[in-house]
Symmetry: C2
Subunit: 210 residues, 2 copies
DNA sequence: TGTACATCAGTGAACGCGCGTTCACTGATGTAC
DNA sequence: TGTACATCAGTGAACGCGCGTTCACTGATGTAC
């Protein structure tokens, strides 16, 4: 349970030198967060899961908040990758590519609701971290680029920015309402893909006033 | 600081009998949650703020979770009232009335981000409370009724339900992204009302496929 | 190839802390007679 | 109107708990010579 063989191939594990604690702490926290909700994690418990004393993590992280930032940063990278992969599934410039980006977003939220909430919902010290801010913007850029391609406008265009943000709002709201079980039973009949495609068409098909 | 004169008119306060502890605990928690974030509240600290021993709250609430549920329930009531008031500002059936409901939602999130996060973001035991579930549905019904009036269809209509949910997604996502400071600087130039009206027109103006 | 040694990455015991909750209690209130 | 008494709504001390973090330490690793 303590060992993750794949992670230990580079440097041999001994009883003493763990070899991969940073990554394993992040994995342990992800696990805890999925099981007990965001905030339901402690340094002590994560260390226990990694099979290490409660002091060991402090060799890799300054404090609890830095562990959290590590988890969120890693999650952001995975999310962005998933969104890019989703977009690449459909022809560049198609509205389906836009919807696929949203689908990747929502799928992430469904698969890892704890980490998703941690990454977005909480204001726990990581809110103003410049690294995470930058990662967040890179993630949003995926949406912007797809929207731009679909509209046939440059990504810097203000209308593109607005549409991208509106699309993001929709996907974000739908993700949270879904994982928080706030959807009324009546809505559940329509699946994510249909919703996203409908929203993308509605938002991209109409010029913004103001 | 401890006394809230308005709350104490019905029953005179003595040094011993507080007279209004339940309401004051909820107020104290709201305060704490706004200052220290959701989860940044403790029974002990809230009791301290209410000027009462840490054991006193247990005369009014079964446990910590019940206090939380009290706060969320009260917040839901205020939110629904604000949404209804917003809708009533514009002619029944107008798209502006729909946007006004969304504006009330977002304003609530901006004004009380802590309570808003607590009510929606967290999975802290209140997720499956039937009372809160019911309150949530009553709140959503406000959106449904406005959407129905605007579309000229009965509230039970499936298309109405879908549109209402999409509108909610949008308002919800926009609220969270705003209070979490996740909006890129480029978007900030467009204000809430313009966004909401654009979204409402886009979503209500196009039939749902599928 | 062997050895000395700096560095790295752990240990485990300890700290002070604030928390949620329980307990036996007590003072104030409202009601029945 | 006065008194007895049940009930209500507090007190404050105590409990056990797990937490984040620090500390002096030690064993393993990798490198310079």
């Amino acid at each position: 349970m303590t060992e993750s063989p794949a992670a230990l191939t580079v440097r041999a594990r001994t009883a003493y030198h763990h070899g991969d604690l940073r990554a394993q702490m992040i994995a342990a926290v992800r696990d805890l967060v999925e099981t007990h909700g965001p905030e339901g994690f402690s340094v002590a418990e994560a260390a226990r899961r990694a099979g290490v004393s409660s002091a060991a993590p402090y060799k890799h992280f300054k404090d609890r908040a830095e562990i959290l930032r590590g988890v969120v940063g890693e999650a952001m990278d995975r999310l962005r990758t998933a969104m890019e992969t989703g977009a690449a599934t459909y022809p560049a410039g198609s509205v389906e590519a836009v919807a696929a980006v949203g689908l990747a977003y929502i799928s992430f939220a469904r698969t890892e609701p704890g980490v998703f909430r941690l990454s977005f919902g909480l204001t726990e010290g990581h809110e103003n971290d410049p690294d995470l801010q930058a990662k967040g913007e890179r993630t949003f850029d995926v949406v912007v680029r797809c929207a731009a391609a679909c509209l046939g406008l440059p990504p810097e265009d203000r209308h593109v920015q607005t549409c991208a943000y509106m699309l993001w709002c929709f996907a974000h709201g739908h993700s949270f309402l879904t994982i928080d079980n706030k959807r009324s039973t009546a809505d559940s009949r329509i699946d994510d893909w249909t919703y996203l495609l409908t929203a993308a068409r509605a938002i991209l098909g109409q010029p913004v006033r103001g």
